[in-house]
């Protein structure tokens, strides 16, 4: 064997030592970085705020961008300032004037100006992409001065501030977006090419910067060191796409991830008792309901409002709550988390005698047979087939024989949206976190009118007048009163029978602190920190 000369040996040893030292330094640097790993079933196709409209992009853009105003951390009970330090609304409710903060800078260091807001909102409006409908109420935008924006609406719209909290209204740096193919011109839908750029980086003002996105694989965010607000705890957040809830659970238990966003109720139950894992369980945003088509030719017996009442009193609401841990019974189709929504304490309770009496009054003392359509899927951990079987059993108690007809999602959706399903089981999540969303479920509303054929001529003028007022009333107390009356009415006469709001369930490492779930953006990563 060849022998190494002493000097060679020494230099080899020194070299090795230096390498080890360097490796050690790199290792300790890497250790010093606080990293948060989130397991999440990614369902976005874009992060460009003018294109993205789904839970994943909402979660990312919540921390990569800021909006003019926002909700409190855990609910939608009020409107809080964010980029706008203050605002005023004209007496006719048409002009909103926002005064911007003067200490806000974009990720590239440029200061926030009114021009950026005008560009961002016009770009959203003219993109004619998924979230563009949110900008429909805007008639025009004006940068009054460097820090003042005036937004003129088409009609008075009391829900406008709540709609502005959506991350679709994220403010981007106009100059950078323009330089990368963006435009806010009326033909933006055809000519804007900035999406590819905005899918890979963010030019916002949020506490995190989008570092990279590999679709269906992972999204990486790094802390914005110059954030104008409170600095977030984690230096880096990696959101890995784990489509299967079962895999998320395994990864969480094995310590591969810190937080799993998409567990199913049974998995959460299985994790109870594990001291290393915390579980969050709260009412989710999806209201499950029955649709009873009001067109006699389509709905048959369920088009009769008396049968609707019979169905309402026949359902075993408590049974659904037991079936889905943490779920609640809604009092109406207005999402239970909204101020003024009828919650479980105001919900209809099962009363089989009353239900049978309604059946007899409607002329069906011996019941009838009907097909129940529903999409064959599991949504947010809730299997619709399981609920459908329970609905079938509940209805059998008052003589209604429901034949279950699960359909492939898109096919069933087509029947639902075109209004040809007589009796259907569906779910709804609010597009806007404002009571105005409930107007979809009253005569003239999208869901009521087109899907249940429940039209304006089927209800009293008095109710229609109330519905008309609900859309424009700006006084908060008067609004609450109007929506309370509409919900009470829906418990007497409605083409819809809401029966359950399943829980949202998140499990995370017990070392994490600050977890809050929000109905708009789901998870705010900037609020999380780690204890030692």
């Amino acid at each position: 064997m060849m022998k190494l000369a002493a000097s060679t040996r020494i230099s080899a040893t020194s070299f090795l030592g230096a390498v080890l030292l360097l490796a050690g330094m790199v290792f300790s640097l890497a250790q010093a970085e606080e990293v948060l790993v989130i397991g999440h079933a990614e369902i976005t196709e874009a992060y460009d705020p003018a294109h993205a409209f789904n839970p994943t992009s909402g979660m990312i853009n919540r921390v990569a961008y800021d909006t003019l105003v926002t909700f409190p951390d855990a609910d939608a009970s009020s409107i809080e300032p964010l980029l706008a330090a203050s605002w005023s609304i004209s007496d006719d409710g048409l002009v909103y004037t926002f005064h911007l903060r003067d200490d806000v800078f974009f990720h590239n260091g440029a200061p926030l100006t009114a021009e950026d807001v005008v560009f961002s909102f016009n770009r959203l409006k003219y993109m004619r992409a998924q979230p563009s409908f949110l900008a429909d109420p805007i008639a025009s935008l004006e940068a009054v001065d460097e820090r003042t924006v005036a937004i003129t609406l088409v009609d008075a719209r009391p829900s406008f501030l709540a709609e502005l909290c959506n991350t679709a209204f994220s403010v981007v740096h106009a100059e950078t977006v323009r330089a990368n193919g963006g435009t806010d011109a009326e033909d933006a839908g055809e000519t804007d090419t900035a999406m590819r750029f905005l899918n890979q980086t963010s030019v916002g003002t949020g506490p995190y910067i989008l570092e990279s996105w590999s679709p269906q694989d992972r999204t990486t965010l790094v802390r914005n060191p110059d954030y104008w607000g409170e600095q977030p705890y984690f230096d880096r957040v990696i959101i890995v796409n784990i489509p299967e809830a079962a895999t998320q659970r395994v990864a969480l238990v094995a310590g591969n991830i810190d937080l799993a966003t998409d567990l199913t109720p049974d998995q959460v139950v299985a994790l109870e008792g594990n001291d290393d894992i915390e579980i969050f369980l709260g009412p989710g945003r999806w209201t499950h309901f029955l649709l009873l088509n009001r067109d006699p030719e389509i709905g048959g017996p369920v088009s009769n409002p008396l049968v609707g009442q019979a169905v309402r009193y026949a359902l075993d609401y408590e049974g659904y709550r037991e079936l889905w841990a943490g779920s609640v019974t809604p009092g109406s189709n207005m999402w239970v988390g909204l101020a003024g929504a009828f919650g479980q304490d105001q919900a209809v309770e099962r009363d089989l005698e009353r239900a049978r009496a309604y059946m007899a009054e409607a002329g069906y003392p011996d019941g009838f047979e009907i097909t129940l359509h529903y999409p064959d899927l599991t949504w947010a951990g809730v299997g619709l087939s399981t609920n459908a079987q329970k609905l079938q059993a509940d209805l059998a108690e008052i003589g209604i024989t429901a034949r279950l007809l699960p359909g492939e999602v898109q096919v069933a959706l087509e029947g639902y949206r075109s209004g040809v399903q007589g009796f259907g089981y569906w779910f709804w999540g609010p597009d806007k976190l404002d009571p105005i969303d409930f107007l979809e479920f009253v005569p003239g509303g999208k869901v009521a009118g087109e899907r249940a054929r429940w039209t304006e001529d089927m209800v009293d003028d008095e109710i229609m007048a109330l519905i008309a007022r609900a859309g424009v009333e700006t006084d908060p107390d008067a609004r609450l009163e109007i929506f309370a009356q509409l919900q009470a009415y829906a418990q007497q006469d409605s083409a819809f029978v809401p029966f359950n709001v399943p829980a949202v369930q998140t499990a995370y490492s017990a070392t994490l602190e600050g977890y809050l779930w929000h109905p708009q953006w789901g998870l705010d990563m900037a609020l999380l920190s780690r204890t030692n």
């Binding site: 998924q130 679709p215 395994v250 990864a251 492939e408 949206r417």
Partner: protein
């Protein structure tokens, strides 16, 4: 028949096949009684007629079906597979992004499956009706019949979470950076970049998925190898070889196995195509960002350009895989060479 003539004939046969597939895929994708508008616009946006009309116009959904097809075909001939409705990216770019993960997985799985399957098949045939043979046959039966996604989940729960023998979900540990993109195959790209740590990690992450899928492949290959080898070992030329006093090992490997592998090679083309196209559930369970997931999401959102693109891709993969198989015949089977 000379090789070039043989190849040319195969290529010419493939053209109407691929065209036929575009027609079938297009008809099936459009036969679904559902509107892509519903799948791709949020509920509230459906109120806005302008948005709906703009969407239909942008994606050509306002055109008659035959016009849509001919436009698609015309674009395809120019190498343009269209733009995905869902991702807003050219379908070709999407395929480039998602296919390498699946190729890496399917290739390692087929190698694992081939090695295990042939070994088991030989053992089983040579020691026919012995306890070892029964053991291998039970193993093959399990490999073929056990749901792959369930095996993946069990593997993940037991081998990874409890025993720590294999890596967890994903192509890399979540804290490991991806290698610079060259081919999209992480093992190869990390080697090209000289990132040994990343290479080890990527290879480690391939162990469980390739075992899970490889087990399924090996079950099929073991059964075919066994029956084929048994048939060959009973043939006259093998008896002659034995009569000539050749060593048994040589007889089995040279005369037996090389002839018994012909049906296995046939099967390989189909199996590889199956693995590339059919690993949807395995990819979902193991958080493997491959073409299976892309295809699944395209179909559930009625993303016609993407559905067409993936159908074409899978068809092409089958055509190419079988083309390679045919080519291998040319070399391993003298009957074709001299036909």
């Amino acid at each position: 028949m000379p090789l070039y003539q043989y190849l040319l004939r195969r290529v010419i046969f493939a053209i109407p096949l691929v065209l036929g597939i575009t027609v079938v895929a297009f008809l099936i994708a459009n036969a679904i009684p559902a509107d892509p508008i519903n799948a791709n616009l949020p509920q509230s946006a459906l109120n806005n007629e302008q948005l709906v009309a703009a969407f239909r116009e942008k994606w050509g959904l306002d055109q008659p079906l035959h016009v849509q097809y001919l436009t698609y075909l015309g674009n395809l001939l120019q190498g343009d597979m269209g733009v995905s409705i869902r991702t807003n990216q050219p379908v070709l770019d999407d395929i480039r992004q998602f296919l390498p993960a699946t190729i890496e997985l399917a290739t390692t799985a087929i190698v694992v499956g081939l090695l295990l399957g042939v070994s088991f098949g030989v053992v089983s045939a040579v020691w026919r009706n012995s306890p070892l043979d029964y053991l291998v046959r039970v193993f093959a039966l399990i490999g073929v019949s056990f749901p792959v996604f369930l095996l993946a989940l069990i593997g993940l729960s037991v081998l990874h979470a409890q025993l720590g023998w294999v890596a967890g979900p994903g192509r890399l540990d979540f804290l490991v950076q991806r290698p610079p993109h060259v081919t999209g195959l992480y093992t190869l790209d990390s080697l090209l970049a000289g990132q040994w740590g990343t290479f080890r990690n990527a290879a480690y992450h391939l162990v469980l998925p390739s075992l899970v899928l490889g087990l399924y492949v090996s079950g099929i290959i073991a059964r075919i190898t066994r029956s084929s080898l048994l048939e060959v070992l009973n043939s006259d030329f093998v008896r002659t070889a034995r009569a000539k006093g050749q060593r048994e090992f040589f007889v089995i490997m040279r005369h037996g196995l090389s002839n018994a592998l012909i049906p296995v090679v046939t099967l390989l083309g189909v199996l590889y195509g199956n693995l590339l196209a059919g690993a949807v559930l395995t990819e979902a369970i193991l958080a493997w960002p491959g073409i299976g997931r892309y295809a699944y999401r395209a179909s559930t959102s009625q993303d016609f350009p993407a559905i067409m693109g993936v159908s074409m891709l899978i068809a092409l993969i089958y055509v190419i895989a079988n083309f390679i198989v045919d080519l291998m015949y040319f070399f391993i089977d003298p009957r074709i060479r001299y036909a």
